[in-house]
């Protein structure tokens, strides 16, 4: 059982790292400001979620795990607000999103 939790934890941590990196790659590869936000979204949700889940599995049934759960909760509550604020600020300052038809 112990080995199983250990393996699951490491799987979560490694997968989380992969998604964080993919988010970073997305930030670099995607063409314009608005689409780059989506790349950051991958890091914010599944990347952070898997890393924290992996850490929670390492922590076991302790207070640390409860605190990690709260960190994840606050992260998932605040990151969309920040993302929305950035996107809205960009739109209000007149940045036009690149759309598929114009790009083609």
């Amino acid at each position: 059982m112990d080995t199983f939790i250990h393996l699951a934890s490491w799987l979560c941590l490694l997968l989380g790292c992969c998604f964080c990196m993919i988010g970073g790659v997305g930030l670099l590869r995607l063409p314009d400001f608005y689409s780059r936000i989506h790349g950051g979204g991958v890091t914010d949700t599944l990347g952070a979620g898997l890393v924290i889940t992996g850490l929670m599995l390492q922590g076991g049934l302790t207070l640390t795990t409860a605190k990690l759960a709260m960190i994840l909760l606050f992260l998932l509550l605040t990151s969309p607000v920040a993302t929305h604020a950035i996107a809205r600020a960009a739109q209000h300052s007149g940045l036009k999103p690149q759309v598929a038809d114009a790009a083609a």
Binding site: G26, G41, T45, L77, A100
Partner: protein, 163 residues
């Protein structure tokens, strides 16, 4: 009206005290007493400021959220895998578009939950939130179509309706 307000005050106190228990980790009578007093003080202040209302402390959503959060988590995971796959493909198969979607929520709280759920799901970001309408930037046609289909909208409206 009076009972729901009392219930909301009580549940805020319980929530604050649970937070104290998780944060502190010391369970001696002195620290528990001090924690209880601080929670009581915060609750009294919030009552005076009149912010213990369905928007400030939405305890009526609790049971609805128990089913909504797992659903949203699953949707988010699916969208994450889709967007990640698109990012690492050399051809970068994306088709950004901007869409406007109608919202059917009756309260501002419901609309905020909807807009945040849209942003939390990779592939869609809510850019502008207005009365009854949200402007969304979508990275792919599929993500845009899924929003236009409106299953998330209906779920948030149902969640908000449970009182």
């Amino acid at each position: 009206m009076q009972t729901s307000s009392l219930r909301r005050t009580l549940s805020l106190f319980i929530l604050l005290f649970l937070t104290w228990l998780v944060w502190s980790g010391f369970y001696t009578s002195l620290l528990l007493g001090l924690g209880g007093l601080s929670c009581l003080f915060v609750v009294l202040l919030s009552r005076r400021m009149d912010i213990i209302d369905p928007e400030g402390h939405p305890n009526h959503l609790f049971f609805g959220l128990l089913t909504y959060i797992p659903w949203l988590a699953w949707e988010t995971i699916k969208a994450n895998i889709d967007i990640s796959w698109r990012i690492i493909q050399p051809s970068l198969p994306i088709a950004p578009r901007v869409i406007r979607i109608k919202t059917s929520q009756k309260t501002h709280l419901g609309q905020v939950i909807y807009a945040n759920s849209i942003t939390l799901t990779p592939g869609t970001v809510s850019v502008e939130v207005e009365e009854g309408e949200i402007t969304v930037h979508a990275l792919t046609n599929e993500a845009a179509d899924e929003l236009l289909e409106g299953s998330m909208d209906r779920r948030v409206t149902r969640l908000e309706g449970e009182r």
